[in-house]
């Protein structure tokens, strides 16, 4: 038999530590000791029996005590436990004394006297267990690990260990040993490895006290530990902190942040460890902090440090958690703070950036920000937080538009040299403007709120929840989200709306409602809205709606019963319509508070009306109720008929009886007159003898009676349930009157198959016509006669009926006067002419239009012809229009002089040539001239102007001259002091090409001569015609004599347009182009000297004229001694000549005269 002495020594790590941390040891003195399990590992040594002798135990047993008592703070900490066969002994073992108590099997306590002991060396123990017990971080499991630290050889290898425990709500002081008896629960400890055992107590109650001990069985030997007590809350080993991350303070300082483990039963303290990346133990900095963040500054950023955090209870005992997963401070080149932001539309956000480009920090002032790699953010939105940290703020954000799979805006921190790192910050902007509408029901007990979320704009993974807060009464002006709120469960409806119901409600409380959008990136809230249920009431519709048309008054009377709620004043809308397929509602609104009925004026009284009513709060808050159930009116007689029916008579003569039967026919009274029905008619007779009698007609609308009296006035009254009509038509039948012809003529014009126009004229008569009656019937068919009563003041009537126009109809017009029915006018044929006439009338309209269009077309053609003429043919003046040619007989001139001396008769043709005139010249310059040439040209021009002025030569009346470069200046010059008629003179100056070839000259001329051309009608037809075509005028050709100057061909037109134009009076004379009398020639002036190219030839005259020039006009001599009879023009032109040169004047003249001129010229030269 072995008596095992089990020494139980509570140590933390070493014996000395007990003295250092006395709080960890809790001891029970008095009758027995219960050892507190510390928040650390401890030793459980077991000794062999012979070694127990070191403790002289005295068997002084005391009486059993009532309970277990724990004591705290005792310095004596070691204990020895002697385990007997049937009982065990728990001792308080100190350095000097061991106080032991013995428990019997029945948990009775026996006390042993204490004795002095010497300190127990660890090597004395046979068996030693290292034990650690803790509560897991999930706060549900109690774990004890037993590890064998040493073992004596005589002990067998395998152990079987059980953990026994009792759960007690009571504190250790209140527990008795007796209560423990038989209540132990046993949990086996599993072997985990060769010498490691693990015991679990599941489903922990954190604040209860657990009394435990261990039973260790080694073969047949039982080892028992002393009683141990523990509160699981005191030995919690929390989970490590989570989610380590870097954040930045507003001042740009970096801080490492972490989150608490999910289950934290008490406040925690944290330990932060920094260590080199390569070797874990290379360098460590440990800091203990209370908050969940630690500012680390920017120095460590970019280093290769790892950060780890662990936690334990801030107050009281507990284990440190494991270290968290390490966080590397050097993971990113560019760091954004925060890396992701979730925010709402319209908000402002800021991002910080630290840019480490290839181990070189980029200064914050060199950082630029880009959005979505597309848009550079303006610099004014940057803030330099410090040297290295740049902050950008984005204002008034708009919702992020998803780009494919990207639901965020990417924000880039770039270098000034436009280099960006690929990493970016993510900005999620969500539109949180969710509209919440609420509606209180008609009972005022339930408020239903609806809202819809646009799932397209929400981030994937968002969850929405309606939150609310209730004010005790009313709403605040600016609803805000209060710190306290409640959630309301809402259900998605089929219409994609969420619906939540508040029931019962506080009618006058303000419910502040908003939607909370939760996402892993953060939580957003929609703008709060405040609703007072009493303000959003949708009442029940009014009930018992009744509608009727009131008798006599004829108004639509609607009455109803108000709903029970709300009790405040209501306003009502009544909608009514005639009950037919297509209902057109009319709405009538009443806001008189106590109203429960309304009278509405309606047009049609004899129809069924459908009426509905709805109500709403008078204050305009809340909603309109639904429409009530429809009420229908009943059609009934409201009044006596407004008037009697229109009627007519048909007189049939009975030849056998020789009497006339009068049949009265009338049209049934319409509802708008009958109000609303007719139950019969009263036919009232009033004879000329003042005898009156009535007949009552219930069925039908005809009544026949024999006509006996000469004059019989008939009245027909309509009768309904209310009474008889008061306004009625009268018809007097008079034999005498029936012979009077009042209608003079009657014509019927068919318009179409449904309309015929009837017109009539009346003969002057003495009778007052009260109305007409038109009768018509188809003569070919046995059709009943139709009639209509028309007003007396018209003479034309459109009859609408179904007419067959090929059939024969008879129309009769009866004039009706108070004296009786006059003789009718009858027509039985349609007048067909009318339609033709109508067509003629159309013709009268169309014909002038056609004629005027024709005239317009002709005019247009004429004008266009003129235009074309002017476009293609240059306007050549008719010489007969020239003033000097007036009255001259070109066919047979008497002398040359006659041609140029003004004919006295010419005065009568128009303006006097000698009188002052406005003279306009035209000079054409075919080529651009050099500046020095311009002087010459001006000189020439002015010279000719003067010549022509002094000469009073005729000018072209036509104004179609080409305008030259100098036109305006000349105009100005010439027009000075000239106020009367305007004639236009012109000169054409052509620059001579240097090559001065004949062909080129001609080309130049043709290009430049826009003046009075004869054009294609030119009489020139010979092979040289080309030159004449363009040159049918006088030319002054000035070949350039100076080598330095470009040779010029200056053409001077001395032939006025007037001279070439034809007088309009003599159009006939010139109409025939082949007429010999019309032979008209132009004389060319050209230089005779040496230049053969400058020869211009007239065809028929075959006169060659040469003009010699000496370069400048001032040197030119020109027929100085020509007889005074010669043309004054030539004379005057010679005033400018100093040296006489060959100068051939060019004039229109006859062939014979030309020869004469030539002769004269030759003699002079």
């Amino acid at each position: 038999k072995y008596h095992l002495l089990l020494d139980l020594i509570f140590v933390t790590h070493f014996l000395h530590s007990f003295f250092v941390f006395p709080d960890f040891i809790r001891m029970a003195v008095a009758h027995c000791m219960v050892h507190q399990i510390p928040a650390s590992s401890f030793m459980l040594p077991c000794m062999s029996p012979n070694e127990t002798s070191v403790i002289p135990l005295t068997a002084g047993v005391v009486a059993s005590g009532p309970g277990l008592h724990g004591e705290h703070g005792t310095a004596e900490t070691n204990s020895l436990v002697l385990v007997a066969e049937e009982s065990f002994l728990c001792c308080l073992w100190g350095e000097t004394h061991a106080n032991c108590s013995l428990y019997t099997a029945g948990m009775e306590t026996k006390k042993f006297t204490s004795s002095e002991i010497s300190s127990l060396a660890p090597q004395q123990t046979d068996l030693s267990w290292n034990i650690q017990c803790w509560t897991k971080g999930d706060l549900e499991l109690f774990v004890c690990i037993l590890k064998l630290s040493n073992k004596k050889s005589y002990l067998n290898g395998e152990f079987k260990i059980n953990l026994l425990y009792v759960l007690s709500e009571l504190s250790l002081e209140d527990m008795s040993t007796g209560s423990l008896k038989g209540n132990f629960m046993v949990t086996p400890c599993n072997c985990n490895g060769s010498d490691k055992y693990e015991c679990h107590i599941p489903s922990l109650k954190l604040n209860y006290t657990y009394i435990t001990w261990l039973n260790i069985i080694n073969g047949v030997t039982l080892l028992q530990s002393p009683l141990m007590s523990v509160r699981p809350i005191n030995i919690v080993k929390p989970e490590p902190p989570l989610n380590l991350r870097l954040e930045m303070t507003d001042k740009g300082q970096l801080k490492i942040c972490w989150s608490n483990p999910v289950l934290t039963p008490y406040p925690l303290q944290y330990e932060v460890k920094f260590s080199g990346n390569a070797t874990q133990n290379a360098w460590q900095v440990v800091e203990i902090v209370i908050e969940t963040s630690l500012i680390i500054g920017n120095m460590l950023v970019g280093s290769s440090y790892l950060v780890q955090v662990r936690c334990k209870s801030l107050h009281g005992p507990g284990f440190w958690s494991d270290w968290s997963t390490p966080y590397n401070l050097n993971t990113e080149d560019v760091m954004y703070f925060p890396p992701k932001i979730l925010t709402s539309v319209g908000s402002n956000v800021s991002f910080h950036c630290l840019y480490n480009d290839k181990n070189k920090m980029i200064l914050s002032k060199k950082i630029v920000w880009w959005l979505n790699l597309a848009e550079e953010i303006p610099e004014r939105q940057y803030t330099l937080v410090n040297d290295r940290v740049s902050r950008v703020t984005l204002f008034n954000l708009s919702a992020t538009k998803p780009r494919g799979k990207f639901f965020y805006n990417a924000l880039y921190c770039c270098n000034q040299n436009r280099e960006c790192h690929h990493r970016y910050a993510e900005l999620y902007v969500v539109d949180v403007n969710i509209n919440i509408t609420c509606e209180t029901d008609g009972y005022l007990t339930k408020m239903t709120c609806r809202w819809s979320a646009n799932t397209n704009t929400l981030l994937v993974g968002s969850s929405l929840q309606l939150k609310y807060y209730r004010n005790s009464i009313y709403c605040s002006d600016f609803p805000s989200i209060p710190p306290k709120s409640e959630a309301k469960e809402c259900h998605l409806q089929r219409n994609h709306y969420y619906e939540c119901t508040f029931q019962p409600i506080f009618l006058l409380s303000g419910y502040t409602l908003w939607i909370e959008i939760k996402h892993q990136l953060g939580t957003l809230e929609s703008p709060p809205t405040c609703v007072i249920p009493a303000d959003v009431v949708k009442p029940f519709p009014p009930s018992n709606v009744k509608a009727e048309i009131t008798k006599n008054v004829g108004l639509l009377n609607v009455n109803w019963t108000n709903p029970a709620f709300p009790n405040s004043d209501l306003k009502f809308q009544i909608r009514y319509s005639v009950n037919r397929e297509e209902i057109l509602w009319e709405i009538f609104e009443v806001s008189n508070a106590p109203t429960r009925s309304v009278m509405i004026k309606v047009l049609d009284l004899c129809v069924v009306y459908i009426v509905q009513v709805r109500c709403s709060g008078l204050d305009g808050l809340g909603y309109w109720s639904d429409w009530s159930k429809p009420a229908y009116t009943i059609v009934q007689d409201i009044q006596a008929p407004l008037r009697g029916p229109e009627f007519w008579r048909v007189i049939n003569e009975d030849p056998i009886r020789k009497q006339k039967n009068v049949t009265l026919v009338w049209k049934p009274l319409m509802k708008n007159y009958s109000l609303c029905s007719v139950c019969g008619y009263i036919v009232k007779h009033h004879t000329s003898e003042n005898i009156t009698w009535t007949e009552y007609v219930t069925n039908g609308t005809t009544y026949t009676y024999p006509w006996t009296e000469d004059a019989d006035t008939i009245t027909i009254l309509a009768v309904n349930s209310v009474g008889a009509s008061s306004m009625n038509f009268n018809l007097t039948l008079s034999q005498q009157m029936s012979t009077v012809n009042i209608v003079q003529s009657l014509s019927a014009y068919p318009v179409n198959s449904s309309c015929v126009i009837l017109t009539w004229t009346l003969s002057p008569q003495m009778y007052v016509i009260t109305s007409f009656v038109i009768e018509w019937k188809n003569l070919n068919e046995e059709e009943q006669m139709k009639w209509i009563q028309v007003a007396p003041n018209i003479s034309k009537y459109y009859i609408y009926d179904h007419f067959i126009l090929i059939e024969k109809y008879q129309f009769s017009l009866y004039p009706i006067s108070p004296e009786g029915v006059g003789n009718p006018k009858t027509t039985d044929e349609f007048i067909k002419d009318r339609s033709e006439k109508r067509n003629d009338a159309g013709l009268y309209v169309i014909l002038p239009i056609v004629i005027s269009s024709f005239v317009l077309l002709l005019g247009t053609l004429l004008i266009s012809q003129q235009r074309m003429k002017k476009l293609f043919w240059e306007d050549v003046p008719n010489p007969k229009n020239c003033s000097w040619a007036q009255g001259v007989n070109f066919q047979k001139p008497e002398t040359f002089e006659h041609l140029f001396i003004k004919h006295p008769e010419a005065i009568s043709f128009g303006p006097l040539l000698l009188e002052p005139e406005i003279v306009l010249e035209d000079i054409n310059v075919a080529k651009a001239l050099k500046s020095e040439d311009k002087q010459d040209l001006l000189a020439v021009d002015s010279m000719f102007t003067t010549i022509q002025d002094s000469e009073h030569d005729s000018a072209c009346s036509s104004s179609h001259f080409s305008n030259s470069l100098f036109e305006s200046s000349h105009d100005d010059k010439v027009s000075e002091g000239i106020t009367r008629q305007s004639n236009i003179k012109y000169a054409t100056i052509i620059s001579n090409c240097k090559s001065s070839g004949l062909y080129e000259e001609q080309k130049n001329l043709s290009g430049s001569f826009n003046g009075c051309f004869l054009g294609e009608d030119s009489l020139v037809t010979d092979p040289f015609s080309r030159s004449w075509e363009v040159g049918n005028q006088a030319f002054l050709i000035l070949p350039d004599q100076h080598p330095s100057q470009a040779s010029k061909t200056i053409s001077l037109s001395v032939v006025s347009s007037e001279g070439f134009s034809e007088p309009s009076d003599h159009d006939d004379t010139f109409s025939d182009g082949d007429s010999p009398e019309r032979s008209l020639y132009y004389l060319g002036l050209t230089s005779i000297k040496k230049n053969e190219n400058d020869i211009f030839l007239t065809e028929n005259s075959r006169v060659m004229c040469h003009l010699h020039t000496n370069g400048l006009f001032k040197d030119m001599g020109f027929l100085q001694d020509t007889s005074s009879d010669l043309n004054p023009f030539i004379k005057n032109s010679l005033k400018y000549e100093n040296s006489v040169k060959t100068f051939v004047p060019y004039m229109p003249q006859f062939q014979a005269t030309t020869i004469k001129l030539q002769e004269t010229t030759e003699t002079k030269t």
């Binding site: 605040s476 002006d477 600016f478 019962p504 506080f506 006058l508 709300p566």
Partner: protein
């Protein structure tokens, strides 16, 4: 730069919450009080008139006096805002215990809660003080009464509540002082 007028700013911020709530128009409060009182009366009457004969509470005959229910107020007219508040408070205690399925008791309870707030608002406008109900302790035998004669208790409670409400409406018409 630190704001030199920070204490002033702080003072303003301190006062701001006091002005946060809408300046309540007393006429509106009075009108709402009347409307709400009428609504509660209508709720009681709705039940009395529309319920079936067995399940509903019949209109209480005026000439019948029930003994033993003196702790339920309503026999005396209410003449002050304080007494109105006190009476309504007692009914708030009684109502949840009443064995009535067809009367929207919870709703009436909420209505009374609102009504009390309105009366208190009116009172604060007039400068009145309100006391905690002293009769609340006397409700001790309510549980016992409800077990022995629940029908009587329910009918009498509703009737007296109605009378109180009528009294409140009447008083509000001439409300001049507390």
């Amino acid at each position: 730069m630190r704001c030199p007028s920070l204490p002033l700013c702080g003072l303003l911020w301190f006062w701001l919450p006091l002005f946060d709530s809408r300046p309540v128009k007393i006429d509106k409060v009075k009108a709402d009080t009347k409307n709400l009182t009428r609504t509660i009366i209508a709720r009681i009457q709705e039940h009395q008139t529309h319920g079936t004969s067995f399940s509903s509470m019949q209109l209480f005959p005026l000439n019948l006096k029930i003994n033993g229910l003196d702790f339920i107020p309503g026999e005396r007219p209410l003449e002050s805002l304080d007494s109105m508040d006190e009476t309504l408070q007692i009914f708030q205690r009684i109502l949840p215990s009443l064995p009535m399925e067809n009367v929207p008791v919870a709703q009436i309870f909420n209505d009374i809660e609102n009504l009390r707030t309105l009366i208190q608002t009116l009172g604060s406008h007039l400068g009145c003080t309100f006391h905690k109900s002293s009769n609340l302790d006397a409700l001790g035998n309510l549980t016992e009464l409800l077990t022995t004669s629940p029908y009587t208790t329910a009918v009498v409670a509703l009737d007296r509540l109605q009378k109180c409400l009528h009294s409140i409406v009447k008083h509000l018409d001439h409300l001049q002082s507390c």
